[in-house]
């Protein structure tokens, strides 16, 4: 399995740490209801198909990546920097 890091190029999966779904980016504002927290931390669409999830180029450039990926075929159709993403 390989990922193309926007900064480092085509790299082996061994260099990356996996976190989970994109939901972790949607941190509720302070004082938001606990249901928002549940959606942020626990509840997941968990699609069998295209999803967006978070990878960290731990043995590379230390960038967190937002990866568009198919959970059935493992095809990767997009990688962008978390820090540089369009909101």
């Amino acid at each position: 399995m390989r990922l193309t890091c926007p900064l480092c190029g085509d790299r082996d999966r061994r260099e990356f740490y996996y976190y989970g779904a994109e939901d972790y980016l949607h941190r509720p504002a302070e004082g938001a209801p606990l249901a928002d927290l549940d959606n942020y931390l626990h509840l997941r669409d968990n699609p069998a198909g295209v999803t967006k999830d978070l990878w960290y180029h731990e043995a590379g450039c230390s960038q967190w990546l937002l990866v568009t990926r198919n959970t059935v075929t493992h095809e990767i159709s997009g990688v962008e920097l978390v820090a540089g993403r369009k909101a």
Partner: protein
């Protein structure tokens, strides 16, 4: 028997080897199977379940019968395919799975009671009486089962792993593979050609014929010579591609040294990870047997194998051979044998319209219905219409047609497609992105078809790479492939489908009868396809029999899934590098050697090694040393290397703001030159880590993490920064390995530290200052993990060892010295400081009594989740101290004295304990339900495992100097 004038073996290089205690001769280029056949050894093994006598069936890695143990000088290797093991001088092998000798295997009794050992019989019995399962039945079954043996000794062989990258990976070197490699190679692309066998050429070496107007073998030699001369082509012989994985990654096993006598540093095997932009699967096809009564006797072989033994190894597996086959292609076997002077008794062809014109008797529209010969074939019965013919023969070459070798195309869940014309499954296109199947692997059975499709696939790959090439196609035979599917001949007796697991047509029919009608159920119920050959020779026939039994078509019945590896791969090869200390990186302190010089036992702390204690002459237990070191710190001064703690250098205008966000407490208000203890939560509200952070400048902090969480915290901070506040002006980097840092603690700590400083520093408690030590810029922190006046001196790593040795030497002149992890642990327990024994991932700030450290006026990571109702309150266990006169233990559970001990009365547990020489008592830290409300009460500590049952007093966790007077002195 050896046949003169045939084969690619080197008759000038005889090789001696041993099988089952007897010496034999073969030639370089022989496999163990070919050499045994040359010596007329037909019986080579016993079957798995019925212990039937078995001989060589195939000439490849799909071999189900001829599995042997190869004995090396220091160890043995079980389940080696005799068909793949090349002979070498001194090779020693033996048969396996037998009780007694190979000829007189006592477990052959199983064959006589086979009616009671039908598919799945063990699910229906061995249930009574219950205790007999583990006491009697199961041990007998376990001993009878299994094939070869491991020795139980460590495998001391050498193994390697490697990565390779290429533009085009060609898998297989038959006509399709060679043509693909040649085409891609001439284009200048980086090519890897992987061939499982030790010679290239595939079936061209067995079948002969002409390619491009020259003998097939000559064409192979010419192409191989050209490929070898190309710098952009790497030929990997003895390399089986074992698996297809995501994004163009393939696993492959190279047999580096298995064909030679073992010698030090010669790897036995190398496991390759090949990353390829394109792959061409030219893996050919596997011939399939035909089911008929007693079709498993030694001497009954695949027709193609007979041809391979003749043409590649110069061996005829029999003196009077019979051919039973349903394709025109297989006739070549008989012709080659006769041309080589081997007698062919008859050809039996089930196709009524097949040609009867050969130089030997031909029975068309006939089938083999039985065989005889206890330890080797002596004759067969043939049914032709209503007539039964007896034929004397010692070798039956059988062919039921061919199955394309599609395994790799299924590794990513691709389902193969049934092709009625071929009566076989062919690959699903695009099943593995980037991989194209060609030649027989894709159902193109003629040599011409192989060359054309190999060439075309390579051209497509080359074009996609932006290259151009023109390679002419050589001419070759294009015989149509025409067969009448014949899976099993009707009959009453047992007809084997899966030779390796002893699965017969009866078993498959019984499965269907009992409702195991899904192909997966049939497989699992009968174990068909689950043997070492993974059903390579039996899967399709078995599901055809199942389809017939259930009245469905083969396409509807479907297939089980081929999964990696294509051929079995040793654990040692895929685990190469993992032996001993190779399993994980080792991290050493700069003081490591200095500690070892003092006799300190080094213990693992994550990936680090840290000194446990520093023994003195006369001390016989670690406790004596530990007690002395604790007293030394309390009364004089101790030195400890604390460089394993994570250190993160944080800079930028928003550094303080960022720390406020990741810590529960506030750091933006911390004055320059001061240090503050910080608590960090995970976003789920539980404690992630704790540590101190120092403010070195207006926009410059240095964070300290625990040893265990250093990497975790760095990753967490990168996430928080990049995900939530990427626009803040803050950057940070791990400097853990840039600094060596030493704790200096005790009443004489200040004196010891000052003896090093060019300008003595007066630091307040929790202060930090730059210092010069021996001409080097360092840092001095006044912090303490022991409860004594404490400092930490940091210098660039390269000065660490020198400083440590000097610190210890000077400390010793003051009645102090080094202290290890044991003493450090006792000191921190006395002071009630927590480690990851306490913050084990299930505790909140509230649980450890630090809820006030969660600042109310700002948001921070984890703050919201910590307010969930389950995260606080008296039903939760809270951190307490425990004090006892008798020994206590970590891992013990806590109960109310006088109550019964069981789960429902459980009040908590102990996380850390130590004998406190300072207080003369056993001290512990633990978690107790509503613990802070129970200070002063007694609890009963029970450790069943260590046999402890002790009454303790519940205390505040800070036992030593609760007011902190010593710290601030």
């Amino acid at each position: 028997m050896r046949v003169d004038g045939k084969g690619l073996i080197d008759r000038t290089k005889p090789v001696r080897f041993r099988f089952d205690g007897k010496d034999y001769a073969g030639y370089k280029g022989d496999t163990l199977a070919s050499a045994l056949l040359a010596n007329d050894v037909r019986l080579v093994g016993r079957s798995f379940k019925y212990h039937r006598p078995r001989g060589v069936l195939t000439a490849g890695s799909e071999e189900p019968n001829a599995l042997v143990e190869v004995l090396g000088p220091s160890n043995q290797t079980p389940n080696v395919r005799a068909t793949m093991q090349e002979v070498f001088e001194g090779l020693v092998a033996q048969s396996q799975n037998r009780l007694g000798s190979l000829r007189f295997d006592l477990l052959a009794v199983n064959d006589y009671v086979s009616p009671f050992l039908s598919a799945g019989f063990y699910y229906k019995t061995f249930m009574w009486p219950r205790a007999f399962w583990e006491g009697l039945y199961e041990p007998i079954i376990r001993r009878a089962a299994g094939l070869g043996s491991l020795s139980g000794k460590h495998d001391e062989g050498t193994y390697e792993k490697a990565f390779a990258f290429c533009d085009v990976l060609v898998i297989g070197s038959g006509p399709a593979g060679l043509m693909a490699a040649l085409t891609a190679g001439r284009s200048g692309a980086d090519v890897i050609l992987a061939e499982e066998s030790h010679v290239l050429g595939g079936r061209l070496l067995s079948d002969g014929g002409t390619v491009g107007g020259m003998a097939a073998g000559d064409w192979v030699a010419q192409v191989v010579a050209e490929l070898l001369a190309m710098p952009n082509v790497r030929i990997m012989a003895r390399t089986a591609v074992t698996g297809a994985y995501d994004h163009g990654t393939y696993g492959a096993l190279e047999r580096v040294g298995l064909h030679k006598p073992a010698r030090p540093n010669l790897p036995r095997e190398c496991f390759w990870r090949i990353v390829a932009k394109h792959a061409v699967l030219a893996s050919g096809a596997l011939e399939r047997p035909v089911g008929f009564e007693n079709n498993d006797r030694p001497g009954i072989m695949m027709a193609s194998a007979v041809r391979t033994y003749l043409n590649r190894y110069g061996v005829s597996p029999g003196k009077r051979v019979t051919l039973f086959a349903n394709t025109d292609q297989a006739r070549g076997v008989a012709r080659d044998l006769m041309a080589a002077g081997v007698s062919v008794a008859a050809i039996i062809d089930p196709r009524p319209d097949a040609s009867a014109v050969e130089d030997c008797p031909v029975h068309v529209g006939a089938v083999v219905i039985g065989s005889r010969g206890r330890l080797g074939l002596s004759g067969i019965q043939v049914r032709k219409g209503s007539e039964t013919i007896e034929i004397e023969t010692d070798c039956l070459a059988m062919s039921g047609g061919w199955n394309p070798t599609i395994h790799l195309t299924c590794h990513m869940n691709g389902r193969p497609r049934w092709n009625e014309d071929l009566a076989a499954f062919v690959p699903m296109e695009g099943a593995v992105p980037g991989l194209v199947a060609v030649g027989a692997a894709n159902g193109s059975m003629s040599t011409h078809g192989a060359l054309v499709t190999g060439h075309a696939a390579a051209l497509n790959a080359v074009e996609a790479l932006g290259r151009k090439v023109s390679v002419p196609l050589p001419e070759a035979e294009d015989m149509p492939y025409r067969l009448k599917a014949l899976w099993a001949v009707e009959g009453k007796g047992r007809a084997w489908l899966d030779f390796a697991n002893d699965v017969t047509t009866k078993d498959v029919k019984l499965a269907a009868q009992e409702g195991f009608r899904s192909v997966e159920h049939m497989k699992r119920y009968t174990t068909q396809g689950m043997a070492p050959d993974q059903g390579k020779t039996s899967n399709v026939a078995a599901l055809a029999v199942l389809a017939d039994a259930t009245g469905r078509g083969i396409a509807e019945t479907g297939v089980t899934t081929f999964r990696p590896p294509y051929v079995p791969v040793s654990i040692a090869a895929m685990g190469a590098g993992g032996r001993g200390e190779g399993f994980a990186p080792q991290r050493f302190l700069t003081s490591d050697q200095a500690s070892r010089d003092r006799g300190a036992p080094m213990i693992e702390a994550g990936l680090w090694y840290r000194p446990s204690y520093f023994p003195k002459p006369g001390e016989t237990t670690w406790r004596e040393a530990c007690d002395r070191e604790v007293n030394m710190v309390r009364q004089a001064v101790g030195v400890a290397d604390v460089s394993t703690l994570g250190k993160i250098d944080i800079q930028g205008r928003d550094a303080g703001r960022f720390l406020d966000f990741v810590y529960t407490n506030t750091f933006s208000t911390l004055p320059v030159g001061r240090v503050r203890y910080g608590l960090m939560l995970r976003e789920d509200g539980l404690v992630l880590d704790d540590g101190t952070s120092a403010r070195l400048g207006e926009n410059h902090y240095l964070m300290t993490t625990t040893t265990a969480a250093a990497g975790l915290v760095m990753r967490h901070m990168d996430f928080v920064h990049q995900a939530f506040c990427a626009d803040w002006q803050v950057r940070f980097i791990s400097v853990t390995e840039s600094w060596a840092q030493f704790a200096v603690a005790g009443p004489k700590a200040r004196a010891l530290v000052n003896s090093f400083l060019e300008v003595p520093v007066e630091l307040p408690f929790m202060g930090v200052a730059p210092v010069r030590i021996g001409g080097v810029d360092g840092r001095l922190f006044r912090i303490s993990f022991s409860g004594e006046e404490g400092y930490e001196l940091a210098v660039p790593t390269r000065y660490g060892e020198a400083l440590f040795r000097d610190l210890v030497a000077r400390a010793e002149t003051m009645g102090g010295g080094p202290y290890g992890m044991e003493a450090l642990n006792v000191l921190r327990i006395e002071k009630g400081f927590i480690t990851h024994a306490e913050i084990h991932g299930r505790v909140t700030a509230h649980d450890i009594g630090l809820e006030k450290m969660v600042a109310s006026r700002k948001d921070c990571i984890g703050k919201a989740a910590a307010t969930r109702p389950g995260m606080w309150g008296p039903e939760r266990e809270q951190l307490v101290g425990l004090r006892a006169a008798a020994p206590i233990s970590a891992g013990a559970h806590l109960f109310v004295p006088g109550t019964e001990v069981h789960r429902e009365t459980d009040q908590g547990y102990v996380t850390s304990v130590g004998w406190s020489p300072t207080l003369g008592a056993w001290l512990g830290l633990g978690f107790l339900k509503d613990g802070r409300a129970r200070l002063g009460q007694k609890v009963r500590l029970v450790d069943h495992l260590r046999g402890l049952d002790v009454i303790c007093e519940v205390c505040h966790p800070v036992f030593h100097d609760p007011e902190g007077e010593k710290l601030r002195a």
